[in-house]
Symmetry: C2
Subunit: 198 residues, 2 copies
């Protein structure tokens, strides 16, 4: 299982208009592109991937939304499609446990720390000054992988402290500073190659 | 200069609604994501990149829309932002020569063949059965690079024939079949690494 966590510091926690994802929805466009990057192959979905979105914007933070590649349906590659599923999840009355809002999409109340506690595995934290991902061993891991990425604001000091409570490494996807969804594409490419030994 | 050509076989050639890019606009979402993938760094644009979109859908095909990273303004990373600039370009009365519709965005009448004739350089054509991009020499080239990618339908036999009239090679971005925008991310990563010698 490959898990991706993306933290949306401004991403709203109530239903939003699909016509202004970057503005009124608090850079929800970033999270939508990460869902696309993590889950889509050309004419298929990556079934061994889950994407966890941490929504920290108003009015009712924090909330967690999860896309499960093995179960998700009604998801198209465009941003608006992922946004529509996130919006539907936010229409649910979120509890302290996961509730499925649509096939393969679930929501709960909870923060980054709750999510890490639940997943409880080694963290690969993407940061532009991290060690180069290329050369890391990404071929096999009994627990799979857990990647953590920030939005346009990166991670806060407090969030980094939470990561430090777990086994972790800090890696970068290349020599330039890239958007989170672009990093996810590169991570997948490295894992695809490692799995195929090329 | 790095040039990317993406062919949109169904992409409409008249102004369209921003609320249905995959449907009524003929998979315009694919082209918008390619614009994002080709041009965006984390808090910057790739100034040495141009993206050329070939729009082959109704009602007035073919048309070419160009985004020039050195000049473009008013472009945000979300799909709707690129779509809005494409739409504005389509509001122009397209001629047989380039007309700028917004800073860094231009439109003309013309087809894939016209564009290749104009750019007139070696083509790197992305196809899933091509040779692995990794290991190719992408560090330096006096003319830069010209990449050609298809939409969800790939390239037609006729389009491939046009490519065969030029010096070209056929490459793939990895072991799995990926969306065009995901391929662009991987191509950039390879070029970024080659330029930095890592």
């Amino acid at each position: 299982m490959k898990d991706f966590i993306v933290i949306g510091h401004k991403a709203v926690t109530a239903p939003f208009s699909l016509n202004d994802l970057p503005g009124a929805a608090g850079r929800m466009d970033i999270l939508c592109r990460c869902v696309n990057a993590a889950l889509f192959l050309s004419h298929d979905l990556r079934r061994d991937v889950r994407v966890h979105l941490v929504l920290k914007g108003e009015p009712a933070p924090p909330k967690l939304v999860r896309f499960d590649g093995a179960a998700v349906r009604y998801l198209s590659p465009d941003e608006r499609s992922a946004a529509s599923l996130i919006k539907k999840a936010l229409e649910k009355n979120a509890q302290d446990f996961w509730t499925e809002s649509m096939p393969g999409v679930s929501i709960r109340k909870g923060d980054f720390g709750d999510l890490l506690r639940e997943l409880n595995k080694k963290i690969i934290y993407l940061r532009e000054d991290g060690e180069d991902i290329r050369g890391k061993e990404l071929g096999e891991s009994p627990d799979g992988f857990l990647f953590v990425l920030g939005d346009h604001m990166g991670l806060t000091g407090d969030e980094e402290k939470i990561i430090e409570g777990y086994e972790h490494e800090i890696v970068s996807a290349g020599p330039l500073s890239l958007h989170a969804d672009h990093c996810i594409i590169i991570l997948h490419n490295e894992m695809d190659r490692a799995e195929k030994h090329i």
